[in-house]
Amino acid sequence: MRITQGCFSFLPDLTDDQIAKQVQYCLQNGWAVNIEFTDDPHPRNTYWEMWGLPMFDLKDASGVMMELAACREVHGNKYIRISAFDSSHGWESVKLSFIANRPRQEDGYHLVRQERDGRKIRYTTRPYATYLPEGERYK
């Protein structure tokens, strides 16, 4: 099941050229660009691991693309997203975030039913990937 989080996630995957153009747009707005990765695609998992430090003061997207390539080399079969942080006063938040890399196979979610008192059912979802411990997923 293809997960849809962040910008552009209903579109076909962005090519590297398209990613570079989006990053360039972020840099021209003065946003700091971050590369993050995870192997736990639950939508409530907002804190992904950071690849290096946020990239402040860049002028050109090729620096980010170099880091993205390095991140893919190590975490090529995990989710990688690019987020852009606007530090200007009053915003101080992420302005753009999109997935730049997906695992070859996305397992999707297990619908978990919990039986409660009085024949009530409580539903929750859990990524199949998380049935394996961290580091064992998406081999």
């Binding site: 290096g52 430090l53 990239m55 003061d57 860049l58 002028k59 050109d60 997207a61 090729s62 620096g63 980010v64 170099m66 880091e67």
Partner: protein, 312 residues
Amino acid sequence: MISADGNALPNAAADEHGQIDLRSEFAEAGIADLLEGLDRDLVGLVPVKTRIREISSLLLVERIRKRFQLSGEAPTLHMSFTGNPGTGKTTVAMRMADILHKLGFIRRGQLVSVTRDDLVGQYIGHTAPKTKEILKKAMGGVLFIDEAYYLYRPENERDYGQEAIEILLQVMENQREDIVVILAGYADRMDRFFSSNPGFRSRIAHHVEFPDYDDEELLRIAEAILSRQNYKLSTSGRDALIAYIKMRRGQPHFSNARSIRNALDRARLRQANRIFDAKVPVSLSDLSTIDAPDILASRVFRGSEFVPKVEA
């Protein structure tokens, strides 16, 4: 070679694509202004200016060839500027970034100027992220490494400089279209640096040497600096400065235009003190005139046979 006004340019020979007007191409790129500005603003440095013209012609032709799919890969643009202190290496590097940007060989045109401290870390694992961060900031523009020979310290085999050099070389080779690296330093020490890092020499296409300024050029530089700050030299002040330049050159730590700039800064200080101590109303011209005593009070003249004239 391109002349300053673009007049000496021949029209390109006809080929299967028909006529190509090099001159209009040149005007369109807007580098004529830049090259003229280079001629106007920088005193002397004839070999450097010639070299920059040659490089710009090469790049212009390369750009046209690219349009007709005659050339495949990006040309190597990394450069090394060698010369004594104060000969204008940084100034020229800044112009170079402009020229490369106008010609479209770098995308953004910023100049990031660094020294060893910005690239090399202090403990294990500190160097690579530091160097990479600088490289990322410089991407799309020019990375100017001043006194590049400090990167390599042969006397300490565990020096982290070597790590920075390896990362630099890798990026210089693999991302030639993203970044242009300019190394700068004194000629003899750069030679030693290159001979112990042959990888660097072969990756640098253009070695540009900056000659020392002669006395007359230094005087013109001094006058240019002063007029930019709305000062002028009195006739006797000019003579004193000529004498000063001659004396200063023979003394240790002479660094060409930089020495002159510092001397002028000190002269302005003495001028301010002089007109303040005079305790008479000053005119506008007094305020902006550097006179002989301001220059002759310099340490340079101490113990010399040149006897400063004491003015009333």
